[in-house]
Symmetry: C2
Subunit: 157 residues, 2 copies
DNA sequence: AGAAATTGTCTCGAAATCGAGATACTTGAT
DNA sequence: ATCAAGTATCTCGATTTCGAGACAATTTCT
């Protein structure tokens, strides 16, 4: 339990947070050019690439809580970029899709944003990007599994 | 400029965000056990490990904006965990330090939190943790440099 | 079929975070 | 010595995000 001078797990967490922060600043700045917040952009982007989706599916992909998702979607609907529609098969779910205006907007701004993000991570050579991709994928899914496992613990105690 | 079916940089950004989110949930949950927010914990932790520091130094390490730092420090001062003190050498700066109560608190809760974070990233074997550490460090500093470079661009145009 | 647990969405109030800018001090250039 | 630019901290108002929980619909279990 004692912390050695090089406690790799703890450092990994710090460095992960710093890397995320630095790259996210690129993302924020890039998206701000288009008068959008990152979460709003996230909704538009996922609908653009995946097509019509239930709210809960969008929520999982943009990594915010459900109440925040409702809030952001409200704004996008008011702006006429997204529309809601009841699902036929499951009457709990609301399906989200881009309006023509929304599609036009995201089609226009996605490419320059993608370019900004390529630049943001571009300090890492391609080979190392691929390595980081693999490691982060394993780290993320591993951590996520351990989260749901812990929740299960709580449930039966 | 066209997006190939495997656009590594873009995927890297997505996977980075997901990994950060998953690990951060562990952190949040662990810290919530002690009735603290992550930012409050961050302040206590940095003061615990680095000793008395100027506000701006703390700010840089906890990765929030200066106005948020003031807000969080206010709360910690009100709770009697941190104290402010004017610097002798530079009259702009306020130095922050733990009170005895603050030191006692963080000394008690840091070890179990560290253990939780080791578990959070523990799905990755030690060797891969070390590799991820190196790659993320390079990614983070690279992205940060490109940020300040871009700011400089804006300044002279 | 009926009860219990789960899931999907939303409401509401509270908390965290930001951004712009005010103020005071320091540093660097001329 | 003065002035411009930069830095440190804080204030204030607005925005974003969360958390708890309400409610309806679905699924699972018996």
């Amino acid at each position: 339990m004692r912390r050695s001078p090089t406690d790799v797990p703890l450092k990994l967490w710090v460095v992960l947070a710093r890397a995320f922060d630095a790259v996210e600043r690129h993302s924020r700045a890039s998206i701000a050019r288009f008068q959008l917040g990152t979460t709003e952009f996230g909704v538009l982007e996922v609908l653009y690439h995946k097509g019509e989706l239930p709210v809960c599916e969008v929520q999982r992909r943009i990594l915010v809580e459900s109440s925040s998702t409702t809030y952001v979607v409200d704004k996008l609907v008011q702006r006429g970029l997204v529309r809601r529609r009841a699902s036929g098969s499951d009457r709990r779910v609301t399906l989200l899709a881009l309006t023509p205006a929304g599609r036009q907007l995201i089609a226009r701004i996605f490419p320059p944003h993608a370019a900004a993000m390529r630049r943001a991570v571009g300090a890492l050579p391609a080979r190392q990007q691929a390595a980081a991709l693999r490691l982060l994928r394993a780290l993320g899914t591993g951590a996520a599994e351990r989260l749901t496992a812990k929740e299960a613990d709580h449930d039966h105690d």
